[in-house]
């Protein structure tokens, strides 16, 4: 479903945002265009300072773009102040009003919209139920836990039934277990309400597990937009491959291309097939990416050979760091079994075999 192009809820067209003046100008967003579909869980993913929060603030209306348009269902909302946009935000710090109760917080938006009291009451009750906070409706926001505050912030932003809900790293203040719980909760809420969610995070795991589509950002630009599977398995650029999960980079010469496959000759001399994007021209100095779980260590010969440098135990699996004979580092992830040890020791001479379809040629 998410892969079907639907009607777009938010369309960002050629948006630039420049801070500072004169020589001190910095482009926080450098001509960004993206179309976010209705009912989509869309994630802006990138390291801090990549421009993801700036883009969110432009959509919310806390900042105005220096150039470009932001369309909400076809209408340009870029010049509108935040209180005139049918878009609500869940803030990173929650920004709950400390002088109001939980119920008053949730009802605030509806009250500002001039909704009748009875309607507000009913809607607040509905929201309290949705986020399972009925029992604490009369509490002050300072008297509830972080996880509960998070739910109230969600309910408050959902209560006015916005066209789009913006979430600015809303889970970053929660501890690990609660965060996992809330990830599932958020997916459920999105499904239940049918509202478009735009979610900002720097946590790649969070992005992969929750999103319908992800836009990976770096230095004010969107590098790649795609489903979690696309982003993880078919990274277009080195940055994307590096930022999402762990990756091995190998230098190879591309000698032939055909049928979406490239013939790559590795430094070791071995030749493997790698996935390649359309329009890629053969060249001598290309980069291949191989995920650590897509390679295997063998005692004898493989596509590559090297020496075991370090073995790191992770509980579910073990990472084996290998120094290849070509000088490149390479990591292999091996699922742990009940039998003790991973079968290798530091200093072992090993071979690395790369599975079919495991390698991919990067665009640059």
């Amino acid at each position: 479903m998410p892969d079907q192009p639907g009607k777009s809820a938010i369309e960002v067209r050629g948006v630039r945002k420049v801070f500072g003046i004169g020589d001190a100008q910095v482009a926080a967003l450098d001509t960004v265009s993206v179309s976010i579909r209705e009912n989509e869980f869309f994630t802006l993913l990138g390291p801090s300072g990549c421009g993801k929060t700036t883009l969110l603030r432009l959509i919310a209306g806390f900042d105005f773009p220096s150039e470009g348009e932001i369309l909400l269902h076809g209408q340009d909302i870029a010049p509108l102040p935040p209180f005139k946009r049918p878009v609500n935000t869940v803030f990173q710090s929650y920004a709950l009003f400390p002088h109001m109760t939980v119920a008053e917080n949730i009802g605030f938006g509806l009250e500002m919209l001039g909704k009748p009291k009875t309607e507000i009451k009913a809607r607040v009750a509905e929201m309290l139920k949705l986020v399972k906070m009925e029992a604490l409706s009369a509490r002050r926001t300072s008297q509830i836990s972080g996880g509960q505050q998070q739910r109230v912030a969600l309910a408050r932003a959902l209560a006015p039934q916005p066209k789009v809900l913006l979430l600015d790293e809303p889970l970053s203040a929660l501890d690990y277990k609660l965060r996992k719980e809330m990830q599932i909760e958020l997916k459920r809420l999105q499904h239940q309400t049918g509202i478009t969610f735009i979610f900002v995070t720097h946590d790649q795991e969070e992005a992969l597990t929750m999103s319908d589509r992800i836009a990976v950002m770096s230095a004010g630009k969107i590098l790649q937009i795609g489903t979690p599977w696309d982003i993880y398995d078919k990274p277009a650029e080195r940055f994307v491959a590096d930022f999402i999960g762990e990756t091995n980079f190998l230098t190879a010469a591309i000698t032939g291309i055909g049928n979406g496959k490239a013939r790559a000759t590795l430094k070791s001399g071995a030749t493997i097939d790698a996935t390649v994007a359309e329009g890629f021209q053969p060249k001598a100095n290309a980069t291949l990416v191989v995920r650590p779980e897509h390679a295997k260590l063998t005692g004898g010969k493989g596509d590559l050979s090297g020496t075991v440098e370090n073995i790191v135990y992770f509980g579910t699996d073990t990472h084996i760091h290998v120094q290849l004979d070509s000088g490149e580092p390479f990591t292999v992830r091996q699922q742990n079994t009940r039998s003790a040890g991973c079968g290798f020791e530091r200093g072992d001479k090993v071979g690395v075999s790369i599975g079919n379809d495991a390698a991919q040629v990067l665009r640059d």
């Binding site: 900042d63 105005f64 773009p65 220096s66 150039e67 470009g68 348009e69 932001i70 340009d76 870029a78 010049p79 102040p81």
Partner: protein, 304 residues
Amino acid sequence: MASAEEVAKAAERRDIRDRWLLSAPALLIIFLAATGPLLIVLVYSFLTPGPYGDVKWQFSPEAWISVFMERDIFDDTLSLAAAHVTIFWRSIKLAIVTTLATLVLGFPTAYFMATRSEKTRDLWLFLITIPFWTNLLIRTFAVLQIIRNEGLINTVLLKIGITPIQILFTDTAILIGMAYVYLPLMVLPIYASMEKLDFRLVEAGYDLYATRFQVLRRIIFPLVKPGVVAGSILVFIPALGAYVTPSLLGGGKNMMLSNLIELQFGQGRNWPLGSALSIAVMVIVMVALLAYVRNAGQSEMRHG
């Protein structure tokens, strides 16, 4: 429809305009009833005194000359105005000594307060805040009752068979009074810096073989120096221009600058001289403030 860029620019302009409108009433009343009149004082200091007070609108540098000089009535020669110089010197000296006295007493007091437990600290702060906000006149009056000839000190001295001493109407009386009324002004800013002091640094000092005095001098004092400087300025400025304390405790003979200025607007009927003296006081204060700003800027650079 206007583009987002134009809207943003217009919003920014409107914001700055609103901020000026919002601050206008405060700025206006301060200009009318504080800053503006100071400029008039400057103008008055260059005019000729009127016969019954006020001024004649005639330029004259005489007031400024007579701040430090005296013109001989017969041959018009100038000589140093001993009375004025004495008063200037007394005021500056008393203000400096008051500052030092409050520092010597206030620093340990602030240290004591800052090293109390979290709970009792507020109580000590409260105890120092009460005199701070109590009417200065009442506190000066309280000191007066203690040090006057029939006051507590002399009564006690008499009881134990020692000859009473004359304190009231001396420079010492002014000093005691000013140190008393301005002490909280010294303690509060030092306490404010001291409260933020990280005592793990003190611990580190002791760990690196410093003695108690070395820790005090090399670690604690440099870190709370901004508070010390702020406190010194807060004491020095009002002490220099003190009016109530010297006029109640110093008597007619031991004038300070404020009394000299008042005299020019009263019996002296020399408003230009009073104005020139006022400007002179301001200049001394400005120099002190400038020294403070420089010092504050430097320590900010060092610690910022």
